[in-house]
């Protein structure tokens, strides 16, 4: 389910798009005990020069945007994750084992021009 972006936000600029995958929709609730779903957020949006001078963009994004203005053949800076977080899953396998497993860098918390 796409979670709407707050009003007044420039939709086309680089930002985090939230997407929730419900394990119930996949039929996984029969073996996943917790959590109930998974945030499959992603980064998307434009990285104009002005964008690289604020928010959590990197310095080389600023330089790349500057060079793009001088020579359009230089690609623009791109919208990438700048903060990620792990998830843990508690589930049961087919052999009656109960497993708690964690996965690093699974959820996008923040995006920026990189």
């Amino acid at each position: 389910a796409a979670i709407p972006v707050p009003k007044g936000f420039c939709r086309n600029l680089c930002h985090r798009h939230q997407l929730f995958i419900s394990f119930q929709d996949l039929g996984w609730h029969k073996w996943v005990i917790a959590p109930k779903g998974f945030m499959a957020n992603y980064c998307h949006g434009d990285c104009p020069f002005s964008m690289t001078t604020y928010s959590n963009s990197s310095n080389y994004a600023f330089m790349q945007a500057l060079m793009h203005r001088v020579d359009p053949k230089v690609p623009k800076a791109v919208c990438v994750p700048t903060k990620l977080s792990p998830i843990s899953m508690l589930y049961q396998d087919s052999d009656k084992n109960v497993i708690l497993r964690h996965y690093e860098d699974m959820v996008v918390d923040e995006c920026g021009c990189g």
């Binding site: 996949l26 843990s88 508690l90 049961q92 396998d93 084992n97 109960v98 497993r101 996965y103 918390d109």
Partner: protein
């Protein structure tokens, strides 16, 4: 387009979606850990998920293995104080992470706490099994005694940290773990009545639930512990 959950399962390290017949009881410790992690994720707090602070061990995978063993001498009435004898069997090859075993914790749940069955006092003895013998029939050849302790009554969970098992597993990837459990009734001249012992033993045979909680640490998935600079 149809969500390719096959790819997602593979990514999660699963061959295919598990299809458990029914849910196993989830120990409180695992629920506590996952709830703490979900709360931390919701509050945006950073987490080191390669350290299980509730257990004080490093590990990125916790796995609860059910006991698949068998009782011995169930048809004979208990003799010389022995209440029950059981070979506990844990399939260690089911451990899904090929890292280092950092925890092997055996839990013996003697049954629900109640005010009615406060007696008799018990002695719980746990030994390694050298040779299991014929499955389900002959008495196994015992190895070293791991522990022997008195418990006030036939109820509640007991936990044993089997660090030696973890070392053996890391050294030579044991396929399974066999343990021999004997529970004896401590003679008590006041209770003295056999009926109480038999009731307690019958209840124990029905309610005993054994499980092995293991933690494994896969260095590929876990950066070396970033020890806080003092």
């Amino acid at each position: 387009s149809e969500f390719q959950d096959y790819d997602f399962l593979q990514f999660l390290g699963l061959e295919k979606a598990p299809s458990p017949h029914r849910f196993q009881p989830v120990p409180r410790i695992l629920r506590k850990i996952i709830r703490a992690r979900e709360d931390a994720a919701a509050s945006g707090a950073s987490q080191d998920l390669c350290y299980v602070k509730e257990l004080g061990v490093r590990g990125n995978l916790l796995q609860l293995l059910p006991d698949q063993g068998f009782f011995l001498n169930t048809q004979k009435p208990p003799q010389d104080g022995s209440c029950l004898q059981k070979v506990l069997y844990f399939n260690l090859s089911a451990i899904q992470e090929k890292g280092k075993l950092t925890l092997a914790q055996l839990t013996l749940d003697l049954g629900p706490r109640s005010y009615y069955h406060l007696r008799p006092e018990l002695v719980v003895a746990l030994s390694m099994v050298k040779d299991r013998g014929a499955w389900g029939r002959s008495h196994p050849a015992l190895g070293r005694l791991l522990t022997q302790l008195s418990v006030p009554g036939p109820q509640g969970p007991l936990q044993f940290n089997l660090q030696g098992v973890a070392k053996d597993w890391n050294r030579n990837r044991l396929k399974n773990l066999d343990l021999y459990l004997e529970i004896l009734v401590k003679e008590d001249r006041y209770s003295g009545v056999n009926v109480q012992r038999e009731n307690a033993c019958d209840r124990l045979v029905r309610s005993l639930h054994a499980s092995l909680l293991v933690a494994t640490l896969n260095p590929k998935r876990c950066h070396p512990s970033s020890r806080k600079r003092r």
